[in-house]
Amino acid sequence: MRIGKKDLLRKLGDFLLSISAIVILLIIWQIVVEAGIISERKLAPPTKVVTTFIDKLTNTNPDGAVLMEHFWASLKLTVMGFVLACVIGIPLGLLMGYFKPIDSFVTPIFEIIRPIPPIAWIPVMLLLFGIGNGSKVAIIFLAALVPALLNSYAGVKRTNPVLINVAKTAGASKKQIFLEVCVPSAVPMVFTGVKNALSSAWMTLVAAELVSASVGLGYMIQNGRTLSRCDIIIVGMLMIGVSGAIMSGLLSLVEDKVAPWMVKTR
């Protein structure tokens, strides 16, 4: 589709608005600290956060690793838990949505597991997988599994029954109806699930790294807390926030490729 001049102008306007929101937030934040409304020891100002960030790129103090090492360690855990949750949760959710026996078989177990917060799994996971990465991935996996599975399930359930009728009148088999009608019509919901799974994965990271880590953003934050280094805590938090946002943006790009028929509402 062609992008008109008006569209371009509006996009630019939207972009400037988004940027100014961040700038305004930073300015207020700086003023609040410099005016002494909140003490610098409790809230590091943006300028301090930036210098700490740059410093942490090369400095292993106080937590034994440079920022990128922490970042990669956390990224690995998050991505592993997230991908595992998608690989298992999406197909399972889709199948449960269509095949009653699978639904009846899985639902009771799933409904019991669902309300248990990921952090409550920590002791069990430690016993099962020890204090290595296995238990952390497992906790992140559980957190991400719920939205991945539930949304895929709902996507199939919400298939327009008339579209199923169209396929039936054409003599489609059950398998064809599932694969060629229910699955494609679930795609938008699956993507919603994947995005929520990604947020859940990042959100659970810090909790997972509370367990036993010696490297990782969660560990860095935890260590910063022990040492009352609020600048390091904020750098860690921002790394998680920004990584999550970037990955979510990448997912949206994939979505545009996989589901080009979806109308964008704006």
Partner: protein, 254 residues
């Protein structure tokens, strides 16, 4: 239309009800009988919610009647031998125009080259050339239903059911589509069962018009507008015929 007409679908004493979770029974069809003749353009006229879609679903075999029979000359048709143009289009949003049109042959495993060729011919027939690769979301209502019509004809069905196909269109587009559906019907030689709740549309299109009452419904009347096509909806004859049906329809509803 003489009396040597061959019956294509013979519907006798059809009953259908639905029971909800609270065990309330809703009787929709209450002993409906009807003959559909080969190659005629039959209009089923009835008020909203009277069971028109339910009837078509029964003819399609998507649902089974509680009582009564539906017989086809030449035996029960295989799936795909009866085509349906669905109410409110019911296009696959993730398929392009051409993919929608070839969807039914694809379910049958017709090979790609063959179904593509047929789909292209149908797209031409409904006047959508140049829109083959557009997604339904980008089309107007009239264009969407053109896709719906082409998709139904892609099954090579000789019986075509149309469920209020133009119900969601504006008047202008509706008149245009009525002209075109008659042309398609004449070029394809199919038996058409066309459902509508619009009297004017019924008189414009039908070889024969059967009127259904409110549910639980049966056929309450039958009309044969012996007018040459194209019918002028401002002519004296047309308006008189329209009024006759309107009077009967009011009676049927009270």
């Amino acid at each position: 239309m003489a009396d040597n007409r061959e019956v294509r679908i013979k519907i006798r004493n059809l009953k259908k009800s639905f029971t909800d979770k609270k065990h309330n029974t809703l009787q929709v069809l209450n002993g409906l009988s009807l003959d559909v003749y080969t190659n005629e353009f039959l209009v089923i006229l009835g008020p909203g919610q009277c069971g028109k879609t339910v009837l078509l679903n029964l003819i399609l075999g998507l649902d089974t009647p509680d009582e009564g029979t539906i017989e086809f000359s030449g035996g029960t048709p295989a799936k795909g031998e009866v085509g349906m143009v669905f109410q409110r289009y019911a296009l696959f949003p993730w398929k392009t125009v051409i993919q929608n049109v070839e969807a039914c042959p694809k379910f049958h495993g017709v090979d790609k080259a063959k179904r593509r060729e047929e789909a292209k011919a149908l797209i031409k027939l409904v006047g959508l050339e140049g829109f083959e690769n557009a997604y339904p979301a980008a089309l107007s209502g009239g264009m969407k239903q053109r896709v719906g019509i082409a998709r139904a004809y892609a099954t090579n069905a000789d019986i075509m059911l149309m469920d209020e196909p133009f119900g969601a269109l504006d008047a202008q587009t509706r008149y245009q589509m009525q002209d075109e559906i008659l042309k398609i019907w004449q070029s394809k030689m199919t038996t058409v069962v066309f459902v509508t709740n619009n009297i004017e549309e019924a008189v414009t299109l039908g070889d024969r018009i059967v009127l259904l009452g409110n549910k639980p419904s049966v056929v309450v009347n039958e009309f044969v507008p012996n007018m040459a096509r194209p019918r002028n909806n401002l002519s004296q004859e047309f308006l008189e015929f329209r009024n006759v049906i309107a009077d009967k329809m009011d009676l049927a509803l009270t």
